[in-house]
Amino acid sequence: MTGFTARPEGRPAHDAEPSGTPRGTGGTAGRPGPADSGPADELTVVPKRHPGRWVTAIALLIVAAATLHSVFTNPRFGWDVVNTYLRDVSIGRGLLVTLELTAVCMAIGIVLGVVLAVMRLSANPVVRSAAFLYVSFFRGTPVLVQLLFWYNLAALYPQLTFGLPGVSLDANRLITPMLAALLGLGLNEAAYMSEIVRAGVQSVDHGQGEAAGALGLTKMQTMRRVILPQAMRVIIPPTGNETIGMLKTTALVSVLAVPDLLYSAQILYARNFQTIPLLIVASIWYLTVTTVLTIGQFYVERRFSRGNRTVAPTPLQQFRQLLRTHTPSATGRTPE
């Protein structure tokens, strides 16, 4: 006995074609069966219906309406206060500090991240291990702890000499809250970015590097002209996520009294006790910037998928596509 079990012959499966044997006795030549004969173009193709979509849509609408009603009728949200402080000067300054922190920390993260990634992919075992140690250290401790460490660096090294003769800087004056924030967030980000860049470089087909090498391009030229441009397609989406994540992580610097968006709001509500409205103000601005960044990310991704099969449609194109599939005439269906 073999391990295989065959379906008994002579008993066709449930949905098998009725082959050869005439089905029933009433099937005469003049009367075509309901679905298995006749010219195909006379039949209407009906796509699968999705009643569940309508049910979930209605349920969600009810929940959304209830939530909105509560939000706008509960006076404790203090929407008038929100409206007043949304364009407040100190909130605006805080937003600029948040944007500056995000931009500079991401720049540090990306540049250092690429260097670390190239180091991790190096054939030199010393360089490789150094990058590995860096990544494990900065990924292995909370970024909040790192921020506090940089902020309190003066407790470790009151005078910074950098090992150079004649150099002696007062750590307390050199490491301002802003510099501690940039170092803490930037160096931490570099660890994550290096992993993203490494994954991108490794995603490029091995043959690409070989082909470039066989043409006489040096390793550096190959990396810059052939590997990295192709790795970008893999690197860009998570980098966009990292940027959006960084924008929100900058809120941590409020513990160092850096006047970012959150800390500016905190200063205000410490004075006027409008805690919730001011947190809403901060949230609205965070949400606005992340939305702008998300849109930017979408178009940057499109740019870098050049020469590739799947170029994502823009939201406008997607919307048009949605309208088209839900317009009866476009699908070949006759309207009910």
Partner: protein
């Protein structure tokens, strides 16, 4: 295909043909991957303008040998000369020292290579694929490289595809672009690593036609192939590889139609 378009004047061009050193000389080439010995001392000489096909079962070391010729693989023993120069190494006393990246790259600019999977750069247009290496590795002016690239595309029958991206081309067209890309460096030697193995059967012909033209133009070619018909018709000599050794070397027609070695006979009987 005209010879001056594709062949850069070599160092020994002034010598008469019969006094020139062989284009490729391999001497006792050995290579191992970990415990596996893939090349067990291969000797081969390829004259200028000669077309040599390497055949044999997969895993016999023919592709590895080909990749050693432009130093895509390092050697564990023996030497390979291309145009009278040792590839990838420099002799100091009794030792061979591996050359630096820059020097190896300079040697590779004279050796064109075509891969089984084309390996075109997908983020560049066809024209950019062709001129990238001439611009970066040979530091040629762009106008000059572009002019030669367009002429080469014309020769491989793809004159209208210069601004297309590789993904818009069929496999056969991509492989012809890859051949043009290698020729754009004006190499003195062309290596082909199973150039038609990844192609749909109906697309093989176009690629083989281009290779035939190239052979007729006097290019020195070493081709790893399973196309026995091509090997018989185009190659001057055929080398049968098995288990890391060049088992049988001889004129193409003789090796393929009346092989002497028992293993060659068995292999040819199996692929036919």
């Amino acid at each position: 295909m005209k010879k001056p378009d594709t062949v850069r004047p070599g160092a020994a061009a002034h010598l008469p043909a019969d006094r020139q050193p062989p284009m490729v000389r391999a001497e006792n080439v050995r290579k191992r991957f970990g415990p596996l010995e893939v090349l067990k001392g291969v000797d081969l000489e390829v004259r200028r303008g000669e077309v040599v096909c390497l055949i044999g079962p997969s895993g016999s070391g023919k592709s590895t040998f080909l990749r050693c010729i432009n130093h895509l693989e390092t050697l564990d023993g023996g030497r390979i000369w291309v145009g009278g120069q040792v590839v990838g190494y420099q002799r100091r006393g009794s030792k061979l020292h591996e050359l630096g990246d820059r020097e190896i790259c300079r040697q590779r600019t004279e050796i064109g290579m075509v891969f089984q999977h084309f390996n075109l750069f997908p983020h560049m247009t066809v024209l950019q694929n062709l001129i990238e290496a001439p611009l970066r590795a040979l530091k040629e002016p762009k106008a000059e490289a572009t002019e030669r690239a367009l002429a080469l595309l014309e020769q491989v029958g793809l004159g209208d595809k210069a601004s297309a991206y590789p993904r818009h081309l069929s496999g056969g067209q991509q492989q012809r672009v890859a051949i043009a890309r290698a020729l754009c460096m004006r190499p003195k030697l062309m290596l082909f690593d199973e150039p038609t193995s990844a192609l749909d059967p109906e697309l093989v012909g176009d690629v083989l036609t281009v290779m035939r033209d190239l052979a007729a133009s006097g290019m020195t070619m070493i081709v790893v192939t399973h196309e026995m018909g091509f090997a018989r018709d185009i190659a001057d000599r055929v080398v049968f590889f098995e288990a890391g050794q060049a088992v049988e070397v001889g004129p193409a027609k003789q090796v393929i139609t009346e092989p002497r070695h028992a293993r060659t006979k068995a292999f040819l009987a199996a692929v036919r």
